[in-house]
């Protein structure tokens, strides 16, 4: 199973990866990006590779934020059907609604526990 983690903090990317593994996901490869622009390029570069199973993205990032990434991904038809979960400190309702409108299936607020990651992510893996 391959996943893409998008966060401007390298520490947070590691923490999220650890939480996914603790949730029982057998990750064969974890792709990483530090902003939305990098993530789009990663998706373009990996179109011929094995399918991604999951994308987790922060919202508040430099260069291109998580909401802009979601909208650009939709426009470019990249990683269609891959579940996206936002992980962010921004619990503001307008952000949540915009993320859902742009294709996010889940939302986790920082700070989070590994159990919360498991509860949000595993149901998406079953239907994917």
């Amino acid at each position: 199973m391959r996943a893409l983690i998008i966060d401007d903090s390298a520490v947070m990317r590691k923490v999220i990866e650890r939480a996914l593994r603790q949730a029982g996901l057998e990750l064969s490869e974890v792709l990483q990006a530090s902003n939305g622009e990098e993530a789009l390029q990663t998706l373009r570069d990996n179109q011929g590779s094995g399918a991604l199973a999951l994308i987790l993205s922060d919202i508040n990032m430099p260069v291109m934020d998580g909401l802009q990434f979601l909208e650009a991904r939709k426009q470019e038809n990249l990683a269609q059907g891959v579940p996206v979960v936002m992980i962010t400190t921004e619990g503001n309702e307008s952000f949540v609604l915009r993320a859902i409108a742009a294709g996010a299936q889940g939302y986790i607020c920082k700070p989070f526990t590994a159990e919360q990651v498991k509860a949000r992510v595993l149901p998406l893996m079953r239907v994917a």
Binding site: S9, A10, V11, V15, R18, N60, T89, N92, C109, P111
Partner: protein, 150 residues
């Protein structure tokens, strides 16, 4: 009847405790009364803009920052490891975000910046906002400080 500053301090204490308990599996308590100056070489800064204009600074010594990074990552950190600065920035981000999320509307309608981390200390720091308070916290004997100004 608590005043605005007391409420802001209570929200900050709650945000700090929540981040440490959830992400680092450690309790973190405010230090009351006279506290020695915190050697705060590493400083992370988050700005608030919108309904609330202000900033949140988190400052810590190299030693405290290293312990924080190790607690977040679950792995030892190396001297001069860039992950240490990153960890302090992310800690500030989560604390500022937590503090903001506890604000009532319309004050909660503000956005927070991404964290900027320096190693210049707090010398010469001057808040550009009307209300400013500083608070020190300790987890397992490691002390760090937070400044909120808005």
């Amino acid at each position: 009847m608590p005043n605005a500053q007391d409420e802001a301090v209570t929200r900050l204490d709650s945000a700090v405790a929540e981040v440490f308990e959830t992400m680092l599996a450690r309790s973190c308590d405010p230090l009351e009364g006279e506290v020695d100056t915190v050697e705060g070489r590493i400083v992370a800064r988050i700005q608030f803009t919108g309904a609330v204009d202000g900033e949140c600074l988190l400052y810590a010594s190299q030693a405290t920052a290293s312990v924080t990074a190790e607690a977040l990552l679950g792995t030892p950190s190396e001297p001069h490891d860039p992950m240490v600065d990153d960890a302090i920035g992310e800690l500030c981000n989560m604390i500022a975000g937590g503090w903001k999320s506890k604000l009532a509307s319309p004050d909660s309608n503000c956005v927070i910046s991404t964290p900027a981390v320096t190693r210049d200390g707090l010398e010469g720091y001057q808040a550009r906002f009307g209300t400013k308070f500083s608070r020190k916290y300790s987890f397992q004997g490691n002390v760090f400080g937070v400044v909120l100004a808005f």
